[in-house]
Amino acid sequence: MGVAALFAGAGCKKILDQPVQGSYTPGNFFTSDANAQQAVNEAYKFLSFNAGANNAIWVLGDLASDDAIKGGGSIGDQQDFQAVSQFNILTSNSAVEAVWKNYYNGVFACNVVLDGLTGNNKVSPSMQASGIAQAKFLRAYYYFILTTCYGNIPLHLKVETAKEAQTPARPQDSVFAQIEQDCMGAAAALPATAPSLGMATKGAALALLAKTYLFHSDLANHYQLAAQTAEQVEGMGYQLTHLYSDNFSAATKDNTEEIFTVNHLSGTLGIGNELNVWFAPRPPAPTNGYGFFLPTQNLVDNYESAPGGEADPRLDYSIARAGHSYFDLPYDPTWSSTGYNTKKMVQPLSEVPAATKNVGTVNYEALRLGEILLIDAEALNESGQPAAALIPLNKVRARARNSYQYDNSLAGYPSVPAGLLPDVTTTDQTQLRDIIRRERRSELALEFHRFFDIIRYGKAYANSVLQPIAPNFNYDTNKWFPIPQSERDANPNLFK
């Protein structure tokens, strides 16, 4: 009996077969289209502004620029954000860490999809193709933000072990090249129209490609490629909205100008826009926000006005100022130390009440036709075709001034004030360059792009703009944010 028992025990290898309970493993997850779709959904998740301090691209994109200052409760409130605007940036800076982690999390989620759908799986061919294309587009989007923020960065193209993940930072040139390759791959397989608002499309992939070319200065003919690609997008049926402000309103989030939008919804699932509470004025303002992200006088001054004094309508669509309304409230300039508050990414209390103020429903228009037209204009001008550049440029200006024809709340509606935002006619490349830069600043104000534009415009421009407000600014060391400490600590090969 004992001997039998011994053999019974020894033969009991079967008991060691204890499968994972309650979770999939990568090996058995990609067995259905529904599962694959969930992994693709995750790849989108890191676009969201559901946590304003995690997705801190607004700090790096605009607080580091001449467009906005930190605000908040006091100097000490989010001290690290202040440090960004003063270029007093440690590798442990929380905004620098947050953006890095958030967008690399996005890269990871994309790589999970790409690994899963390119390896052995039981997903339908159409879902495979669609999932791969979406993941490639999103990975390109995330890498674009990462390399414009941090320059030379590690490139992870699959889910890696800790050892494999200890890879050196790659030159920005090769990061851009990877982004372009992913965009082209995605554009080939993505549908022209989004099956649902917020999903990646061919237009989105091409728009991102155009923008990447614009930034990819190591590529010899990058301006030509940028212009060509932008025009390809322009030809896809997108239309500027009549009202510029439709791009920043929850009610009109699904519009003709939107090419790629970061979608937010109300509710308790953590998919709302938290910047709504971060950017709203602090008490005593009834808006009950945190009061961050205050537009500067310098930005306000960038907006043109008509000889009669009427301002570029985009100013009041973007920025609350004395004598004007803050949505449904009269604006009180004491709510802000600059006298201004942003109106982008925030909503009136009538739309999102105080109790759920951190769950805004307004979208972030990550790529919209307005920007593509300006990419086209800039690329054409820089590649020596200033005359051609005027066409897309003037489309943007026309839409802005024509707000007067559509917005009955503007004084003088429906006639456009004389001399407001007239068509640009100069074909002097240098003059036009300055005009396009100014136009881009007005059109895309407070949409988290400004700092990257400043850097792209070069050292002279950057110094002239930033040194007066941040004497610490040094183009060579500050053109990119430092790779965060969490990466340095765990990646001994980073600078090899």
């Binding site: 599962n35 969930q38 992994a39 890095w100 099956p195 308790t268």
Partner: protein
């Protein structure tokens, strides 16, 4: 054994010879009693007289006058014409009887066994007062003809002698208990037993007598101070809270808890559900040779617990019980209202800046009279009840032995709403069916209820269920004395307050919750239902071969229920109110089969063991929550009564299994040369299915020097043994169930259009190459016994190197931080040191005896390697501030912080010192500029000490005088440091908290006034309270843990009460503590912060104001009926 038999035989022959020596006496006495007469004969001869007291004609006096006669001749003369007759029996026994009722002799048979159930061959069985008797045969049996009234004395070398009155019985069997420290003591080892003298490994044993009457809730706690190398720390003083047991040092970054095996059943939590009174013995297997038979689970040592078994004889009923009260052992001297008030005004003056906007107005003098003066420690720590009662019945005969017992333990907490109740039922039955088969069972059933309040930590990131939240004691320490416990009137009359809304506001009255109210509003309950038991069948097909199959289970159901009531001013706490419940069933079974063969060939003695084992564990969890209870009363605290539209649900299941083969061969030559070899092959489901197996080997040798010829003349040495062992052990516990696999699951939501969608990804990365972390341990030991075992000493040197440490390395953050990183086998830790155990016992005379036992352990713990040799920060005390750094060349969890260097006394000192930041002035704490760069910053941090004591020691003393016995138990540690985080709260002066009396009255107020307490200032607190050695204190302590005085009641009184024996005692637990530590208790330094709790040994000895251990006064009784 043969030797001892021959010695006994020799003695016996000599005795027999005397029977025939015709001793002659001369005796002349007048008017003596019969008793006196027999007494005299006994004293003057070698004869023993046996008679019943009532046979003697007591009133009669006799005259004796004999000259040079033999005893029989004397008796013939004197007893003539009396009612008395006598009979000379074998030996020198003379039985005196009445002539009317002649004395009867009966034949008694029986068996002598050890506590472990083994027959004792060659044990001596004698009639009390005579040399008459016999010895047991090879099976422990004896047969003897004795007078009906005789009392038998059973004895055997190494065992406590036992006396049994025959009382007319024909069968008398006894179980002999080993003498403490005796070399013949039988020790429970892995899958068997061994004689202590034959051990070649390092095993410490703890017996039932160490348990008696200690007013502690858990079995693990009774191990404290009883064995060298076993560090037992009560983690908090909260009733029912866990106890940390670490054997030979921290050798893991996770838990270093040992493997517990209770009656052969492996268990992790079962130890908490065994009543201390049900424990018969505990063996701690410390070295590789002893432990490696448990293979992949043995790296942290193994604790074998044997529960009580029945012993042969009539049913015996016994009662053990005590009752007592717990009081706070120590309170920190805090400022009273006046001191607080004055300190406030001093700080306001110190911080006054002409024209500044941040000035605080001094408090008006009259205000003090309007304020209460509350000692919050006294408000939360109240006297509390503790009690225990156990009733057991045991007995048996040759074939069957049984015990059943019931035990109830109840400990109220000193803090309201904390308590622990436990009810245990214990049964053990063994039955020998015939020569071949033996069956048995051990069963332990337990129910316990633990009510918890926040006992440690600041509640940071407290995850529901596992962390009771912020420490009540911490709040009690920093709550200002000028806040009332309750408002006597007003809209919140009768309700507890959190923040008073009065003049001065929070600046004066402080913030934080009212600790009394917080405790009163805590309703957190754990109900545990435990079954731990086994059944076994033992077969002896041929002599010396034993086959055993054992099926065991440990089944624990944990029911958690917590209600979070809405309370507080404006009812801001827990709004909305909520109920959380969960139910965990943790089911483990094991099936163990062993074959044991014992072979003796000449001087060679071989014992071989082979075995197989399978173990499976399955944990299921169901959880639910609801909120919005319109009625908060307890009769409505059910899930169905909540009104949430989205009540919470949760549930999961997780399993692991182990399949093993093991073997041990022990060899002895001539009892002098000893060797043992162990092997275990383990397969674990926790490893990647393609490679689940590992082998563990160990070996040990021993040399009984005292058995050598050259030692035979050294009489004083009864034992001298040198032993050494080497082997490998694995740590299965550090592996998670599925760590080899990456796990994919849902991870939140995104939205397309107006539709939320579920998102899934890899949330935990796996590593298919994971292996057990492995400890390689060497041990060299010496055992010395002197003066027949009166003095015993064991010395061990151990060196334990743990490699392939499981570490979850920080992935580069670019690899994504959504998924938890995969574990890796990396890093190395060494633990080495000496262990001493010594004991001495002496019986001075029949009234006085004493015994003292001491043990000392030294430990050197050092990290030898880490992944990328990257230090690991742990022990969060503030955002991005960690108190410890685990780094190569330092102990695990070494403190790492700025070095405080006294106080700036003059402006010049500030000026010439390294820059510490703006606004530094005389009176502020000075920090050492370690790197000499002229700036004090985080790069000036130093490794400032270890949470692991270099030295732990304990001493127990035992004195008996007549019927009194006195027991003392001292325990202490040296060389560790404690980061007094709550000291930072109450001495850092950074928020309107109460402060220690020292800070309030002895702060710096001018050059030379203090070099340790900075000036009172809120604005300077940023500098003064930052994490530094200012709050790092020595953790050395010596405690008189227990003092107990007992009294054995005389038998006369008891016989009338049908009581065989009764001992009553009074005891004090935690009598005093000698320490320089300024916190409440240097032993209770746990942090329940979520981070710290997961960081294991990387974040020890950080004191957030932990629930202190009580001083406990008890009285109790042990009664045998």
């Amino acid at each position: 054994m043969k030797l001892s038999i021959s010695i006994l035989l020799l003695t016996f022959l000599q005795v027999s010879a005397k029977v025939h020596s015709q001793e002659r006496l001369t005796l002349t006495e007048k008017g003596i009693s019969w008793e006196r007469f027999f007494d005299l004969l006994e004293k003057k001869s070698n004869y023993t007289f046996l008679y019943k007291n009532d046979v003697l004609p007591h009133k009669q006096k006799i005259d004796v006058s004999v000259v040079d006669q033999t005893i029989p001749q004397i008796l013939e003369t004197v007893l003539k014409n009396t009612p008395l007759a006598y009979q000379l029996l074998a030996g020198n026994l003379i039985v005196v009887t009445s002539r009317q009722a002649p004395m009867s002799e009966i034949r008694v048979t029986g068996k002598v066994t050890s506590a472990a159930g083994d027959p004792l061959a060659g044990a001596s069985v004698k009639i009390r007062g005579t040399q008459l008797g016999t010895t047991t045969d090879n099976d422990g049996n004896f047969a003897l003809t004795v007078p009906e009234e005789a009392t038998l004395v059973f004895s055997f070398v190494g065992y406590q002698p036992q006396e049994v009155a025959v009382g007319g019985r024909t069968t008398v069997s006894v179980v002999l208990q080993p003498q403490a420290g005796s070399i013949n003591e039988v020790v429970v080892i892995g899958y068997g037993t061994a004689k202590k003298k034959d051990l070649t490994g390092s095993v410490s044993t703890i017996g039932a007598k160490d348990v008696n009457g200690l007013p502690v809730g858990g079995t693990a706690q009774i191990m404290q101070g009883k064995a060298a190398g076993v560090a037992v720390t009560q983690v908090t003083g909260a009733p029912g809270d866990g106890v940390s047991v670490i054997i030979r040092g921290q050798s893991s970054f996770g838990s270093s808890a040992p493997l517990y095996v209770i009656d052969g059943i492996p268990t992790s939590d079962g130890i908490n559900e065994i009543a201390p009174d049900d424990v018969e013995s505990i063996s701690v297997l410390k070295d590789a040779a002893s432990a490696s038979i448990y293979g992949a689970r043995a790296a942290n040592g193994v604790v074998l617990i044997t529960t009580r078994k029945g012993s042969m004889g009539k049913p015996r009923l016994s009662f053990n019980g005590y009752t007592g009260t717990q009081t706070p052992a120590h309170l920190i001297a805090m400022a009273n209202a006046r001191q607080y008030f004055n300190a406030y005004n001093t700080a306001a003056a110190n911080d006054f800046v002409a024209g500044g906007s941040g000035n605080r107005a001094p408090l008006p003098t009259g205000m003090l009279d309007t304020l209460p003066d509350v000692n919050w420690q006294k408000q939360v720590l109240k006297n509390a009840f503790i009690g225990n009662a156990q009733l057991s019945i045991g007995g048996g005969n040759e074939n069957t032995r049984y015990i059943v017992s019931a035990d109830y333990f109840n400990q109220k907490g000193m803090i309201l709403n904390s308590s622990y109740d436990r009810f245990n039922l214990h049964t053990a039955i063994t039955s020998t069916l015939n020569k071949m088969f033996k069956v048995g069972t051990n069963m332990n059933l337990a129910y316990s209820k633990t009510r918890q309040v926040g006992s440690s930590g600041d509640g940071y990131s407290a995850p529901g269920g596992s962390n009771p939240g912020a420490s009540i004691v911490r709040y009690a320490l920093f709550r200002t004395p000028v806040t009332p416990v309750k408002y006597s009137s007003g809209p919140y009359a009768g309700q507890y307050v959190d923040l008073p809304d009065a003049v001065g506001g929070a600046n004066v009255f402080g913030d934080g919750l009212n600790p009394v109210a917080l405790a009163a509003n805590t309703n957190r309950n754990f109900y545990n239902y435990t079954l731990l038991g086994d059944v076994f069948l033992e077969v002896t097909p041929v002599k010396n071969l034993t086959l055993k199959t054992d099926l065991g289970t440990n089944f624990i159901i944990t029911d958690y229920k917590q209600f979070f009531p809405t309370w507080g001013i404006q009812r801001i706490q827990n709004s909305p109110n909520a109920l959380a419940q969960s139910n965990t069933t943790d089911f483990t079974y094991n099936w163990t089969n062993t074959a044991n063969y014992h072979l003796v060939v000449g001087k060679h003695d071989i014992t071989a063991l082979v075995g197989t084992e399978i173990i499976k564990n399955d944990v299921k969890l169901i959880s639910a929550s609801n909120s919005g209870y319109p009625d908060q009363t307890s009769t409505f605290q059910y899930l169905s009564n909540g009104t949430s539209l989205t009540p919470g649900v949760g549930g999961n299941e997780s399993t692991w299994a182990l399949s093993s083969l093991f073997s041990r061969v022990s060899y002895q030559y001539d009892g002098r040369y000893l060797a043992s070899f162990n092997f275990r092959r383990d397969g674990s489901s926790r490893l990647d299915p393609t490679d689940q197996w590992g082998n563990f080997y160990s070996g040990s040798v021993g040399w009984r020097i005292d058995k050598e010829n050259f030692m035979q003349n050294i009489r004083a040495v009864s034992l001298l043994k040198l032993r050494g062992s080497l082997g490998q052990l694995g740590d299965q516990n550090a592996l998670s169930n599925y760590g080899y696999a990456s796990l994919v699951g849902s991870n939140g939501y995104y939205a397309f259009g107006n539709t939320p969608v579920i998102t899934s990804t890899i949330y935990a990365k796996g590593n298919p190459n994971l292996k057990w972390q492995t400890s390689t341990m060497a041990d060299v030991g010496l055992d010395l016994g002197l003066f027949n075992g009166a003095f015993n000493l064991s010395v061990d040197y151990y060196n334990k190197r743990t490699t392939n440490l499981l570490q979850a390395p920080q992935d580069p953050s670019s690899a994504g931080s959504v998924a938890s990183p995969a574990f890796e086998n990396n890093g190395k830790i060494v633990n080495r040191g000496f262990e001493f155990e010594a004991g001495y016992r002496q019986t001075i005379n029949k009234d006085w005896s004493w015994e003292v036992n001491a043990n000392v352990t030294t430990i050197h713990n050092e990290v030898l390697a880490l992944l990328n040799n990257q230090p690991i920060a742990a022990g969060r005390v503030d955002n991005n501030t960690f108190a410890t750094s685990t780094a190569v060349g330092h102990p695990v969890g070494a403190f790492y912080m700025l070095q405080a260097d006294g106080i700036f006394q003059t402006p010049k000192e500030v000026f010439v010192h390294a820059y510490q930041g703006p606004g530094i002035r005389p009176g502020d704490i000075k920090f050492r500029d370690v790197n000499g760069d002229g700036v004090i910053d985080q790069t000036d941090r130093v490794y400032a000490g270890s949470p692991i004591p270099d030295l732990t020691y304990a001493l127990t003393g035992h004195v008996t005088f007549k019927n009194f016995d006195l027991n003392l138990f001292f325990q202490g540690v040296r060389g560790d440091k404690i980061y007094n985080q709550v000291g930072m709260d109450i001495e850092g002066f950074y928020r309107p908290f109460n402060m220690t009396e020292k800070v309030a009255t002895k702060s710096w107020h001018g050059q030379g006034t203090s070099n340790s307490v900075p000036l009172l200032s809120w604005t300077d607190a940023t500098n003064n309270k930052q994490m530094s050695t200012r709050f790092l204190e020595s953790g050395d302590y010596l405690k008189l843990k227990n003092i107990q005085l007992g009294y054995n009641l005389g038998s006369r009184t008891l016989t009338r009460l049908m009581i065989k024996s009764m001992r009553i005692y009074a005891s004090v637990q935690n009598v005093f503590t000698i320490t320089k530590y300024s916190g409440l208790d240097p032993e209770m330094t746990t942090s329940a912060n979520a981070a710290s709790a997961n960081e294991g040994p990387k974040a020890l000895n950080i004191d957030w104001g932990t629930y202190p251990a009580a001083r406990t006064f008890t009285i109790g009784a042990n009664i045998n009926f």
